[in-house]
Amino acid sequence: MAQPLVPELLRAHLTELATRDQRADGRGQWEGRELSVEVGVLDRAEGSAKVQMGDTIVFCGIKFQLQTPYPDRPDEGGLMTSAELRPLAGRHIEPGPPSPESIEIGRVVDRGIRESGCINTKDLCIIPGEKVWQVIIDCFAISDDGNLFDAFGLAAIAALHNATLPGERFDVGEDRKLPVNKTPIMCSYQKVGGRFVYDSNREEEVGGDERIHITLGEDDHVHSLQKGLKGVFSASEFVEIMDAAKQRCAELRKIVDSL
């Protein structure tokens, strides 16, 4: 992504709104945009989801490949996450090799999934030492109006829950559901006008400061954190957003688990 020009006017406007506990689109501090999650939307993927949060729209597709396991872990499969920010999804996204932003987002989504243990890599074993499944999670933005992190995170876990191991196509047994043991959920907070808000839209991203991405599992266990962008925050600010995240992650987990 090209460095957007940050008009000081936008920053001043957002700050002024924040002093009155308001946001540019009328939402409350911890309020998310209108959300929809659909699964099974991609004909060529073995699992898929479409997430819409306001005008942010993303797809996630799950594909599988066979691979030889690492010699020191003969009974474990692999997991790979890729996030593509194609210029389709926004004027600010430039074509070319992966930007530092897209690398960061892919790695943060990956860590949330991986570290939660929702995929037990031993469940991906076909023949120990010979053949295991590699799960590939491809996150793909259609329209970026802010907070791709959460949209990708949600689409990824929803698509995993929707996925089927294509045993027949690869001639290694019957098709079966991909075992997914947990439902890690990422919630992101950005400092806008001097205070943190949930689910910043693109206008807030451009006029805001640092972001904190929190992935929580069952029982509020922490699986992944990431602070991004320039900015300083205090321990008490962190406690505040962690509390907000515990509540919101639980709500979103219910949505995903009920799909």
Partner: protein
């Protein structure tokens, strides 16, 4: 080639999906599917699913790509990693580069670039789900997205391919037919004049087969154009 022994058309002239030789697959068009873009459209065409978005006209940078007398058109055709049966690995790809180029060549032929000197118009085509004929779907969707963005054009571009299967010329090959097909003739037609801005072909067609495939395409293009006009009218409440 050489797969003529797989029977894809029955004794009544019905194709495996029930179509007759000159029929096209079902098509659904949606306008404005990328809210943040200046214009966008999606097409479901058979099981193809393609999204196109348009940004601009905007300042052309770096300056060395600027043209004093007209806008430059920056067109990218790309396959999403989950668009194919085997995962499609992102990155440099000669086929995508070529399709991007010929698609740009086609669109430049109709967009009134002279209205926007020194500027750039970006056209992004993403194949979300690929069946057969993605380059045709992409080019057609791109012309819809340009219309949605309000970019003036001399005409829409409607693209469709005919081919040959079991020695029979048929219109708009589906995936199975494409796998066993012996020729493919994609064309990009201006429906109001019958002129062409896009043409490719590979395989083997005798002069008479070639003429038959050409005629199927011309006929199909007019049908598809009706669907396009309808989709635009539905969004903007009037005829094109």
């Amino acid at each position: 080639m050489g797969y003529g022994d797989v029977q894809m058309i029955d004794e009544n002239g019905n194709r495996i999906d029930g179509r007759k030789a000159g029929d096209i697959r079902p098509i659904e068009i949606e306008m404005g599917v990328v809210p943040v873009a200046d214009g966008s459209a999606s097409m479901r065409w058979g099981t193809n699913y393609v999204i196109a978005s348009v940004y601009g006209p905007m300042e052309a940078h770096p300056r060395k790509i600027q043209r004093q007398e007209r806008a430059v058109l920056d067109v990218r055709y790309n396959m999403a990693p989950f668009s194919t049966t085997d995962r499609f690995r992102p990155g440099f790809n000669r086929r995508s580069r070529e399709i991007s180029k010929v698609t740009a060549d086609a669109l430049e032929s109709v967009v009134l670039l002279e209205l926007y000197p020194r500027s750039k118009i970006r056209v992004e085509i993403e194949i979300i789900c690929a069946e057969a004929g993605t380059r045709c779907v992409g080019l057609t969707a791109a012309s819809l997205a340009l219309a949605d963005a309000g970019i003036p054009m001399t005409d829409m571009v409607v693209s469709v391919a005919s081919g040959k299967i079991n020695g029979v010329v048929v219109c708009d090959l589906n995936k199975e037919e494409d796998n066993y097909g012996a020729a493919d003739l994609p064309m990009g037609v201006l429906p109001n004049t019958g002129e062409l801005v896009f043409l490719q072909m590979d395989g083997d067609l005798s002069p008479s087969e070639f003429q038959e495939a050409w005629d199927y395409n011309m006929e199909a293009a007019l049908k598809i154009h009706e669907l396009m006009k309808e989709a635009i009218a539905n969004k903007y409440g009037g005829a094109q």
